[in-house]
Amino acid sequence: MSHIEARILTKKEVAQDIFKLSLFCPEIASTVIPGQFVHIECGKDKKFILRRPFSVHRQINEDVFEILFQVVGKGTKSLAEVEVDSCLDIIGPLGNGFKIPDDCKNVLLVAGGIGVAPLVFLAEKLFLSKISFNVLIGCANCQKVVRFPLKDEMTGKIYFSTDDGSLGSKGNAADLLLNHLRKNEKPDRIFACGPEPMLKAVTSIATRNGISCFLSLEERMACGIGACLSCVCKTKSGNKRVCVDGPVFNAFDILWE
């Protein structure tokens, strides 16, 4: 875990209000695993005082990693305005990350909206581990769709759905999942990330189909390192902190409110 200044190498608006930053930061890039996140000071100016958590989107090499984020409020707005070559104050890598069991052969990744961010990193790791996978992505509309940068040689297929049907099938990620399970071989495990209603729906589908399922959760965070207890979620084994006990949890352990 480092607290460090990371230089911004590139910045790009990859879809409507969705930005990608690549950061030079060997301390984090060399050790991070998929599902982990970084805690970023989004404005030096102290108009907002707390950091904001973002998943690591891709590990480019030992020195560089990327984040992908959507502008939703003042912190992300300010982050979208940073300049290339300036530095960000970052703490990371944080959290537990996605665990891929050895006997996993066939995996399904399910993303809702910006939930795609950590799954790209995971897909790349799956590819390296020669585990086959498919990707289901639900988005609001085609303008919000982020390219899922699979290398050509990757085995995974990507399926899209949009709420308005402007790309892929019409519907949300859960619809897409239902449909996919109907037509395809049952995966060994589902990894999902996205808004809470979608995660709930995915969990219940996984339950009904008896598929192991892991979710990356989001909660508002202050410290990001387990001290403030702001980010708890209820689980079968009591309150857990999303920042250190998660953000990835076994879906069947979560007690939804």
Binding site: M1, K47, I49, L50, A222, I225, C228, L229, S230, N239
Partner: protein, 304 residues
Amino acid sequence: MEPSLSVDIAGIKMKNPVMTASGTFGSGVEYSDFVDLSKLGAIVTKGVTLNERLGNPTPRIYETPCGMLNSIGLQNKGVEAFIREDLKFLEKFDVPVIVNIAGSTIEEYTRVAERLSEESMVKGLELNISCPNVKDGGLAFGASVKSAVKVTSAVRKTTRLPLIVKLSPNVGNIVDIAKGVEDVGADAVSLINTLIGMAIDINSFEPQLANVFGGLSGPAVKPIAVAMVWQVSQAVDIPVIGMGGIINAEDALEFFLVGAKAIAVGTANFIYPEATIKIINGLREFLKKSDFKNISDIINKVKV
């Protein structure tokens, strides 16, 4: 010669006057990657109750202009697990540990105090009678002189440990409360706890916190905290521990100048995990630069 930062707060000897504010530093373990805990003046742990508490539903925090609201609601694993796990971990550091205690009844306060008094690791108790985040979390005790005095004197009888009473700013008469708890044996007072606040999501019409109300902390409250520390430190003879919005050494200096004998760093830990250490270094630099030999040379030295 290096200036001396050491202070003695109610018999607790500290290398420097920089403590952690309860609830913002976990039990210390969470920050040990960033901070050499042995370098701190003291660690004040998060609030401990007799039995485990689950706290409030989420969202528990919300950011406000130069501040934050929290409604953690005293989540903690109870005094026995605290002793077993958190105190145990802190054994390997050379730093005084002060335990912040809370309760719903006077009996709960006294039982927690009694239990902690058996532990040699515990160097002091901080009585949280000012948590705005649980209906029965002590705010009621901190709201009037009478009830503050009652719980303080009850705890006083059960422990010989230095007893710090943490005061609420959500009152009209903080000075009277400070004097009241001094009279019944408090060894120090600490202030301020958080101010009652609220924020609304104008899209969903829902409060930003599941608990509706939360406690405001951070730079936004600093001027209020400085005023209260000044008022209280003029009125009592016991040491005053100042806190509320301290981010850097300059902020800390304001509190010393108005009479704080030590300060605590809260919300700043979330922003910069090393905030405490930076403040200690900043204080040392300031004393050096200004040719003061001792931190006590600036305590209560505001020119009014």
